[in-house]
């Protein structure tokens, strides 16, 4: 199984024609909200992603999938301007990262947030309006309307005055998506927006994102849920330190690509694929994620029962 792993992380084009479109610089560049060319980035001396080429067209929903430690969060941070790449070129909304920050909403992983923080749901969503407000100014009626509208879109209006620590995991993800919506961005960068949430919440959140994409907004989300990536995203980028494949989800999520993305940790059993995460790869997102994910492949339609319903019991 480990034969598919190329130590340098470079994809084998012969098998994966779908990545060619992303590497066609002229076309991709002209229409892309997010454009990365030969990007390497990391922390201290350790690269987390290498030679990444990726273009995300305006109005599209892109899922970034890959094992723990594959560099999904790092890639998102580069796009958000939070991490300066060591080499390569990045253009976000037509400019260098950070320049168009007011048009970007970034939502971090749930684990990075202090849920005991003394803020209510409404306070958190209002934060989405702060950067545009600027110092000294207090939220206006417009801002309050935007917050109420965002809360309504994620069905959290009833919880506006609840302290965020009192919410369930799914409700917390709804609130952070509402904060992103309240900012009225052109580009959503979401780190694990549907991890650890129930099926209803996942469908609701994806409905909201789909509606944004229809309005021409661009969404890039990392996810562990290949079924969701297949069913609800327009395109999928499979990464493991570099882009293994990038294209329409039906093409990317095939057993060959998955085997290359997840290396020796993927186990394909008939229609279903299982990922065995290597504990040594947990350098990116802490050890709190389960060491075992179900990947019931591209064939599962959203809402269908999962092959192993008990698998998520270990999730927070």
């Amino acid at each position: 199984m480990s034969e598919g792993v190329d130590p340098s992380g470079h994809p084998i084009e012969r098998r994966l024609p779908t990545i060619v479109s992303a590497l066609d610089p002229g076309h991709a560049h002209a229409h892309a909200d997010v454009w990365l060319s030969d990007v390497t980035a990391g922390y201290d001396d350790r690269p987390a992603i290498e030679h990444v080429d990726l273009a995300v067209e305006a109005g599209s929903l892109l899922a970034v999938v890959g094992p723990n430690g594959a560099g999904k969060s790092t890639l998102l941070k580069v796009m958000a301007g939070l991490l300066r790449p060591w080499s390569g070129r990045v253009e976000i909304l037509g400019s260098v990262p950070g320049r168009e920050a007011h048009r970007i909403a970034y939502v971090p992983q749930a684990e990075t947030v202090d849920w005991a923080f003394p803020v209510t749901v409404r306070d958190v969503v209002m934060m989405g309006r702060y950067p545009a407000l600027g110092p000294f100014r207090r939220p206006s009626a417009d801002d309050r309307r935007a917050v109420a509208g965002a809360l309504d879109k994620v069905s959290m209006s009833a919880y506006a005055d609840t302290q965020i620590g009192q919410l369930s995991g799914g409700q917390r993800r709804r609130v952070f998506l509402a904060r992103a919506l309240a900012a009225e961005p052109d580009l959503f960068l979401l780190d694990e927006p549907v991890t650890g949430v129930d099926v209803t919440t996942q469908e609701d959140l994806m409905d909201v994102l789909e509606a944004q994409a229809r309005r021409g907004k661009t969404v890039v989300a990392t996810t562990h849920d290949l079924a969701c990536a297949a069913a609800r995203f327009h395109r999928v980028a499979a990464i493991n330190r570099t882009v293994i494949a990038n294209g329409p989800s039906s093409l990317v999520l095939d057993p060959d690509v998955l085997a290359r993305t997840y290396g020796g940790h993927l186990l394909v059993l008939g229609q279903q694929a299982f990922v065995m995460d290597d504990a040594h790869h947990h350098d990116e997102s802490s050890g709190r994620e389960p060491h075992y994910h179900e990947l019931d492949g591209a064939s599962r339609k959203a809402g269908e029962p999962r092959a192993l319903p008990g698998q998520r019991a270990g999730r927070r």
Binding site: V107, T112, Y130
Partner: protein
């Protein structure tokens, strides 16, 4: 025949101008420490606050040796240390708490070393170690007032931005807030707050003024601005009550103020409606911030 017995124990100390000055200082210090301390508690920077206050001490001693202003000396030392901590926590390859521990013990030792070279009685300087609020002069009070106004004005201008970057630094930075600059501004505010408080409570106890009222308030509310308001009320109340107590009992003022704050914190911890041990016992369940099932 006017006398102490007729004006009552609350008004009697007000006949002394040094007590009135101390009272004004106590209110200013209680306010500014609680406002800045709210962020210190939420950011988890208690240790950094302690470090900056200790590092201010050599500045005070240097000012004494050079016959300059205590506030200027303390201010330069505190702000320089705050900025150094900011750089160290962002850029250094060693753990931030280790670097800060080395920095603050070293600078404090430098202050003590310089103090020991001075011949004769240095009561003024030991008052900066343990605080002596009754020694505050009119000039001191003017300095404290100006610095307090500066700190409160900056917080009034940037409270939203500081809140967002404290709660979710990545989300705030990605959406265009200058999180790194805000961090340095905030460390500068902590440094100024410490300078304001040095003479009242002393280098060693300043951290209590920063942390304890805000920590008390945190037990009582789940909203940010109410937390800050309660912290200010606790800070002013404790400072005034501690000042009176120390006057009546003829004991150290800085320590008494801190003890009042600590007692209030303990009381709220035991009896608080939200997280108090008593409330938990009564409801028979553990109240926690963990997600609902």
């Amino acid at each position: 025949m006017p006398g102490a017995a007729e004006v009552g124990p609350l008004l009697e100390p007000l006949q002394y101008s040094f007590f009135v000055r101390a009272l004004v200082a106590a209110i200013l210090v209680g306010t500014v420490c609680a406002v800045v301390g709210t962020y210190v508690v939420l950011k988890g920077l208690a240790f950094i606050g302690d470090a900056i206050s200790h590092a201010a001490f050599p500045g005070v001693v240097a000012a004494f040796l050079l016959k300059g202003s205590y506030y200027l000396g303390a201010g330069i030392a505190a702000v320089a240390t705050a900025l150094a901590i900011g750089v160290v926590t962002r850029r250094a390859r060693i753990r931030a708490d280790t670097a800060i521990g080395v920095l603050f013990a070293g600078t404090f030792a430098l202050g003590i070393f310089m103090l020991s070279t001075i011949k004769g009685y240095v009561a003024d300087l030991t008052s900066f170690l343990f605080g002596y609020i009754l020694s505050i002069t009119v000039q001191d009070l003017i300095g404290i007032t100006i610095l307090t106004a500066i700190v409160l004005a900056v917080v009034a201008a940037l409270w939203k931005e500081l809140l967002y970057s404290t709660f979710d630094p990545l989300g705030a930075a990605a959406s265009g807030l200058k999180v790194e600059q805000l961090e340095y501004v905030f460390l500068g505010l902590v440094a100024l707050t410490i300078v304001i408080s040095l003479q009242a409570v002393g280098v060693i106890l300043v951290v209590a003024m920063l942390v304890t009222p805000a920590a008390t308030a945190q037990q009582l509310t789940v909203r940010f601005l109410p937390m800050m308001a309660i912290a200010v009320a606790v800070g002013i109340g404790s400072a005034v009550a501690g000042l009176y107590l120390s006057f009546w009992l003829n004991v150290a003022s800085g320590a008494t103020i801190v003890l009042v704050e600590t007692a209030l914190f303990g009381l709220v911890l035991l009896l608080g409606p939200r997280t108090g041990a008593w409330a938990r016992l009564r409801s028979g369940r553990v109240v926690s911030a963990s997600p609902a099932p």
